[in-house]
Symmetry: C2
Subunit: 227 residues, 2 copies
């Protein structure tokens, strides 16, 4: 009787933390969308709002970390329960990092707004951003539903993001070679593309945390290239 | 009596995990040093060895994570002990990421070895690498000794790394503008410099984990810019 009671309280408390984690993920997706819009519309005000909005995501990570640590200390969970608790703040760590990327993209937007337009490159970045946002939404569903095949689906899409980044890299190199006046803007766009590519790597990490959560084993090819 | 016994076993087991963590940190410093040497000496063989060596670091992270999770499940530590255990794998996560960076630098070395030399930029990168290696060694000492002032010292050096990166960014832009044949190599060097800058950010994270470990509170300015 007593044991069941404790388990139920653990589950209830973990559910509360998970709610915050999903809220955090929604904020991160929104930040990525806003950072991308600010970039393509040269909307410096929106970029500023994204930079400010990152604070809230960082605070949520701290809250989730503190709540989870307290939960482990109080309820002393074993096996799957411990795994669930630990996974919560592993996911939060990756989400926080993706949030940072939205902010750093916005740091470059103010500089880029002064530069000449490069519509084709900006459109490529927009496409990357949309794929990354969809991946993040999907991997969080996989987490909520403990759904391994959904996690794997999110994970493999990372290859598309890598390919988009490589293609854009070649494209931007040609712009730079054509006209030295394109060099500075192209360089910033290179870094922005790279940032989305790295966001994809962190989503891959989350997919692997889901794998660990469900199976109790570390993902085998856990060697994520964060280039 | 029984309690003391349990505490001692926890400490002993945590010490064993810490040994692995410090071994991991040493490997990461060595990988950074080797990646830098491979870059500046155009040593494609050494670069290949660095790429291969990353696997060992990833395996160590998995081992540390598994051992720590098991330790928490078995010993059910409270307060500082729980904090110590959790910090172990937070540090391991940052170390693993820095290790990845050594690998990605080496991915670019093979391409750069074919390109024209840019001695000044390579030297700047070498200096960044040396600072980053020293920071990492210092922050791991801070961790071992629970030394907050040492952690803070490692943390503030990150500003130097950021400045070195900004200076190199300007320098490389001028090379690109001078001669389109410099563009591709310069772009790779930009990313390599950025990689060291991000490694510095992860060392800052570790400094903040030490702060949490010693004080039980999250570091206040925990908003690290990973650009």
């Amino acid at each position: 009787m007593e044991k069941t009671h404790i388990v139920t309280r653990f589950d209830k408390e973990l559910k509360e933390i998970d709610k915050q984690l999903h809220h955090m993920a929604e904020l991160v997706v929104q930040q990525l969308a806003d950072a991308t819009e600010a970039l393509s519309e040269k909307d410096v005000k929106l970029a500023k709002r994204v930079r400010k909005g990152d604070r809230k995501i960082n605070d949520l990570e701290d809250t989730i970390f503190d709540l989870t640590t307290r939960l482990i200390a109080l309820r002393q969970p074993m096996a799957e329960d411990l795994r669930s608790a630990i996974t919560t703040f592993r996911v939060a760590t990756d989400l926080e990092r993706i949030g940072d990327y939205a902010k750093t993209i916005s740091n470059r937007t103010a500089i880029l707004a002064e530069e000449m337009p490069m519509k084709s490159a900006t459109n490529s970045i927009k496409r990357m951003s949309i794929v990354v946002q969809a991946m993040l939404t999907e991997v969080m569903e996989a987490y909520a539903e403990r759904d391994l095949s959904k996690a794997e689906h999110a994970r493999v899409q990372d290859e598309d993001v890598d390919q988009m980044n490589s293609a854009l890299f070649r494209e931007l190199l040609t712009y730079m070679m054509e006209n030295p006046r394109n060099i500075e803007a192209s360089t910033h766009l290179l870094f922005i593309a790279k940032t989305f590519e790295r966001a994809g790597d962190h989503i891959t990490n989350i997919a692997e945390h889901v794998y660990y959560l469900v199976t109790g084993e570390q993902y085998e090819n856990g060697e994520i290239d964060v280039e």
